[in-house]
Symmetry: C2
Subunit: 148 residues, 2 copies
DNA sequence: CAGTATTCCTACTTAGTTGGTAGGAAGAGT
DNA sequence: ACTCTTCCTACCAACTAAGTAGGAATACTG
């Protein structure tokens, strides 16, 4: 699996929003806006590059943005309901691609006919990991590294 | 997971060698040499590009080559003892890379500390699939697609 | 309500990798 | 000597990733 800088930044930014802004489901700490400049500084991400990533996350429905003097970004759903897989697919398309195409579209003939099933199995295995890990899981894991 | 054209071609070429040349472990059908031009034609791979891939596979110890009029390539081990993971690592280095670096070397700080474990879990999940699937498995799966 | 400050958002530029090609040098058989 | 095939190096085009700069929208302030 190749995790691009864009995907890596996206997950880290979402974690920072969840941590600094609080969950929208949690009463009292919900919906606080976090500025892009704050995210860029705390996670050491180039600001201009980060803005393009945040735009993708907003278009995918994972973030809510607000302009103006006290503007910023916030999660649209609680951190426990957003998975790493959601973030990866929002910025990078399909998880598994073969020569740039989704694994499902790989057409083989002859002796390599069974190969398509291998890529689909890989895609499924990756999905199990990233779709079962939520942002909230990662935040508590930071405090309790032994938990699994 | 991004499967590059180079990796895809490599697995298909290995399958074609295993199918056409026979296993070195099988008496009577072992060690027959297959020409690069034959592989390129049967699997529809550009010949010049394929030659560079075959060179990598030879250097990784997966193929044995022979020059001359009746030259060609053959497996160094039986097809049942060569996994898809062996081939992928021979031509593409590490299975999981984060921003071009192996997943183990990813260094995170602050709120993203738990992210490294996710990439390692993904790497392990991919490894389970590709390291348990041998070339021989794929060849018999072509004849019996229902088997798993 | 005009002005200003700060934000989101869009467009462009640059560097690196991937995919693919061409041409020969070295070795093996006839 | 001649032919065939692998082996090796250098090169080229296309694409994506990474990063930058400037413009448009919005909210606050006097």
């Amino acid at each position: 699996m190749y995790v691009s800088a864009r995907s890596d930044y996206a997950v880290r930014a979402m974690l920072a929003v969840a941590d600094a802004g609080g969950d929208p489901g949690q009463p009292g700490s919900g919906g606080e806006l976090v500025k892009a400049a704050t995210l860029a500084e705390t996670q050491d991400i180039p600001l201009s590059f980060l803005q393009g990533i945040l735009l993708d996350l907003r278009r995918a429905g994972l973030l809510h943005s607000h302009r103006g003097t006290e503007g910023g970004y916030a999660l649209t759903r609680p951190a426990a309901e957003i998975t790493v897989g959601d973030v990866l697919r929002a910025v990078g398309g399909a998880l598994t691609t073969v020569r740039g195409l989704p694994a499902q579209d790989a057409g083989y003939h002859g002796v390599a006919a069974g190969l398509r099933d291998v890529w689909l199995a890989v895609d499924g295995a990756i999905g199990v990991v990233v779709d079962r890990t939520s942002l909230a899981d990662l935040l508590v894991r930071r405090d309790h590294p032994a938990s699994h």
